[in-house]
Subunit: 154 residues, 2 copies
DNA sequence: CCAATGTAGTTCGATGTCGAACAATATAGT
DNA sequence: ACTATATTGTTCGACATCGAACTACATTGG
């Protein structure tokens, strides 16, 4: 949520508007993706699966939470849903018994592949609607902003 | 939530990464703002107040919901919190009795001003951490993307 | 004038998020 | 070794979001 439309203003005002747009785009794109995702899979669930598929499973919940910038509590919640869906398996870590390890199941990899397939057309449509060159050009800015906010957070 | 880091890839892959970053920046900036907001005010509540202060009050809930791109149900919820806080007053519309009208209260304007004051330093810090010129340059892209997603939604 | 449709708002259930409190376990410092 | 501190994960309450079902009222077409 967020919005509005000023005129010709200060750096902070522009930044504020920019963050408004960022929030709306995040919301709308998230909703659009959830609508095409197969079955009961939600976006946060897909993002965790995608993370494990791409960077490897066997990670700890905390490591995943940090990588995806969500709280431990949020990760506990999402991993619970993924496990109940049969898409991941969680095992204890014998070396550090406070910890757990998260593995993908075969069903999890299949569900991820299905989601990727479903997302393709949506992404292709959006790539056709906005100039990819400008998206590419703006990526570093978003990454910098993310890093800056992440640092400030601690 | 979202994340990851590929290499040199297709337009849709870049777009996907871009949307990941957008989602994280939205989340982190939202959290950062909520942390400095005065009292019990949340970000969605501030955004509604800000909308009313800048574009004028007396609007209907549905009109606000559409402008801010949230569902009617979400707006009912947020307006309820704002009303209980004494920051807005909701009155029936005598012309169209299905409708309501949302007015700011004096306390609401004061709370908004206090929030703006609290947000200032945060925005100034972020404006110092990322090049404002690049933010300005990227704004139109975000607006286009928002419009594209909004159209697709219907 | 009435029936069919459309629109404004509310309610509900599922999901997600944060942050704080808590338990279990590990590590460090003396 | 033992105590103090740090880390991992869970739980809980408050808030937010969507989307679908539902009520109340308005508009449109015959």
């Amino acid at each position: 949520m967020s919005e509005d439309t000023p005129t010709g203003e200060s750096d902070t005002a522009t930044l504020f508007r920019f963050l408004n747009e960022v929030a709306i785009v995040a919301q709308l794109s998230g909703n659009a993706f959830e609508k095409v995702m197969p079955g009961t899979m939600t976006l946060p669930q897909f993002i965790v699966l995608n993370h494990l598929v791409r960077l490897g499973d066997g990670r700890t919940p905390l490591r995943i939470a940090n990588a995806l910038q969500v709280s431990k509590g949020a990760m506990t919640n999402t991993l619970g849903h993924l496990e109940r869906a049969g898409w991941i398996a969680v095992r204890p870590d014998d070396v550090d018994r406070r910890s757990k390890r998260v593995d993908l199941t075969g069903a999890g990899r299949e569900a991820h592949a299905a989601a990727i397939d479903a997302l393709g057309p949506e992404l292709a449509w959006l790539a056709g609607a906005v100039p990819p060159a400008r998206v590419r050009a703006a990526l570093p800015l978003m990454e910098e902003m993310r890093r800056a906010l992440d640092v400030r957070r601690g």
